[in-house]
């Protein structure tokens, strides 16, 4: 392709949070074969970590060009020495792309795999990095952007922990609420997430029984935030569930 010619599609970054402390460990991995099949292309992963104090990049880690079947790995052990001290969570972006090769289809983002562990058990899970742009779906947007997580009946003795990532440079207000058949939009947390930042909020869950009503968690954000939903055992603090939600989808998905 002529270097002066602009491709119809461009690769875009995805977001995630890095947990790095004496307790928390994060492993970040990118394997091109998960999203691509072009064996002739070379691929590059660039991790950009933002300073929670300023919202500006404070460290970048770029892979060497790798082949389709290769795997680029880095972890908080390696990255931590370059980051501000006394912080546990960092907003990050993974910009994974094929060198000199534009995306062949609408899959313009190649996420990384994020594997969390901790000595205390307070953070554990496995997630893909989140789409900021490029997810081919149509979502409802009103005065706010909405994300939904079907918590279900919940369990006595568990708390809800929500991580909120703001991939934009502007701060965004947010509200986290619970909705059930009998009570909608019951606020559990609200506040502001600064640009290029991540915060975590916790809230008690009503005591549910198997026979009772279920509940859904809804996050309303001024900007399109990337929320992640965790469950915590109240008595031990151990994380016992971590997953992402979905926006209110306007189209009908049938798999």
């Amino acid at each position: 392709m002529n270097p002066n010619e602009k491709a119809a599609r461009e690769w875009v970054p995805t977001s995630f949070f890095l947990a790095a402390s004496d307790d928390y460990r994060t492993e970040i991995t990118f394997s091109p074969r998960q999203y691509a099949r072009n064996e002739t292309a070379k691929y590059v992963s660039e991790i950009c970590i933002y300073d929670p104090g300023t919202g500006r990049p404070c460290h970048r880690r770029r892979s060497e060009p790798i082949g389709l079947g290769d795997c680029f790995r880095t972890s908080s052990d390696e990255l931590r020495q370059h980051l501000p001290a006394n912080q546990s969570y960092f907003y990050c972006e993974a910009f994974n792309s094929a060198v000199d090769t534009p995306p062949p289809d609408t899959n313009i983002a190649m996420p990384s795999n994020i594997h969390y562990s901790s000595k205390s058990g307070k953070l554990q899970g496995d997630l893909g990095s989140n789409y900021i742009f490029g997810a081919p779906r149509k979502a409802f947007k009103g005065d706010f952007y909405y994300d939904h997580f079907p918590l279900g009946k919940g369990v006595p003795g568990m708390r809800l922990k929500v991580f909120l990532m703001n991939p934009y440079v502007r701060p965004s207000t947010f509200q986290v609420y619970l909705t059930s058949k009998n009570q909608r939009n019951q606020i559990v947390a609200e506040g502001t997430v600064a640009g290029k930042n991540v915060i975590d909020v916790e809230g008690d869950l009503p005591e549910f029984t198997k026979a009772g009503d279920g509940v859904a968690v809804v996050v309303a954000g001024e900007l399109k935030l990337n929320p992640i939903y965790g469950l915590i055992q109240k008595n031990t603090g151990i994380m016992c569930g971590l997953d992402h939600g979905h926006p209110f989808l306007m189209q009908r998905l049938s798999h």
């Binding site: 074969r33 554990q124 989808l249 049938s254 798999h255």
Partner: protein, 334 residues
């Protein structure tokens, strides 16, 4: 040194110091709004470029509402739309009546399902109204049925029509799905929706409930449906196959009615181990990675272990990890 301005400020582009409202004003004044034009004319995204994707997304939103200005064309005389023939109108009325009398399945999703000792799946379906208007895009109640296939791909249970009301979230444990709960089943669960207008919040999830010896739930890992009919752009893979202190389990389902072979690969350093699996229609396999490849995990784990599947057809895959020190299960789709 550039001043740090992006905390508690309303700038979209900090370099050009342009706020969101100013951006919309610029868009409204442009004859053919494009990111490249604003970059050249106003310097938006022209220096650090960190706002590029955000400006493009705001522009996309703006164009979705206001539309791209139409090219100037000669105005033709108004054309009267053709009348819809009576026969066509009657057919359309009959079809709409038939839909309400005989609801049709028009949306479905598949997930892994298990009842096995301390592991038990439950199904969560959530039908939340528009948070602002409190209007339900699926006209309030949504009907669905649940089908369960066993590991061999045999349909073992099908529920009658169930429903979820507006703002309601239902979680169905096995005793609410089966008339008589089987002691052991490893297979797949299908949710089939009737007359669905749009997915809204109805993307179904299952929860892997893990109970301790006293029957108390220790962990609840949500996992949602995965695509199974479309071509995925790459291959199913897991780079955390042998993390220290954790055993990684594979939940593999063939959601299609055809059978095929898939090759499971595990790379450890320079060595690649391969195992071929045959998948019959709707068949499910739930095995740990060490068991599949006939090996022991070293106590310190192998951080370089990398698992992937090569297959002509899509294998719906979830990875679940049993964390031994904290005795919980968590998981992720591929």
């Amino acid at each position: 040194m550039k001043r740090v301005t992006n905390i508690d400020s309303g700038f979209v582009c900090h370099c050009a110091r342009i706020r969101h409202s100013e951006l919309l004003e610029i868009f409204s004044e442009a004859t053919d709004p494009s990111y490249e034009e604003f970059k050249a004319r106003y310097g938006i995204g022209g220096q650090c470029a960190s706002c590029e994707y955000e400006v493009k997304a705001i522009l996309d939103d703006y164009l979705a509402v206001h539309g791209r200005p139409a090219p100037r064309v000669e105005v033709a005389a108004p054309v009267k739309p053709p009348a819809v023939p009576l026969r066509k109108r009657l057919r359309s009325f009959a079809e709409s009546s038939k839909r309400s009398i005989f609801p049709k399945v028009n949306g479905k999703a598949c997930m892994f399902f298990i009842i096995d000792g301390q592991l038990q799946s439950s199904l969560v379906v959530s039908n939340i109204n528009n948070p602002e208007s409190n209007i339900n895009p699926n006209r309030d109640n949504v009907s669905f049925r649940v089908l369960i296939y066993d590991g061999e791909g045999k349909l073992v249970h099908q529920t009658g029509k169930m429903s979820v009301g507006p703002n309601e979230t239902v979680e169905l444990f096995p005793e609410e799905i089966f008339d008589r709960v089987p002691e052991h089943i490893v297979g797949s669960l299908y949710v089939e929706y009737y007359n669905l207008e749009c997915t809204n919040t109805l993307r179904p999830y299952c929860v892997l409930n893990y109970t301790d010896a006293n029957g108390r739930i220790r962990s609840r890992q949500h996992y949602h449906d995965k695509l199974y009919t479309k071509t995925i752009p790459g291959f199913v893979q897991c780079p955390s196959a042998f993390p220290p202190g954790r055993v990684c389990w594979l939940a593999l389902t063939n959601c299609s009615p055809r059978d095929f072979n898939a090759t499971l690969n595990l790379r450890l350093g320079d060595e690649v181990k391969k195992v071929q699996l045959h998948f019959g229609p709707q068949q499910t396999v739930f095995r740990s990675i060490p068991e599949v490849f006939g090996m022991e995990i070293p106590p310190e784990g192998r951080r370089d272990a990398h698992f992937w599947i090569e297959s002509e057809h899509y294998v719906m895959t979830y990875f679940f990890w049993n964390d031994i020190p904290t005795d919980v299960w968590f998981g992720q789709h591929h």
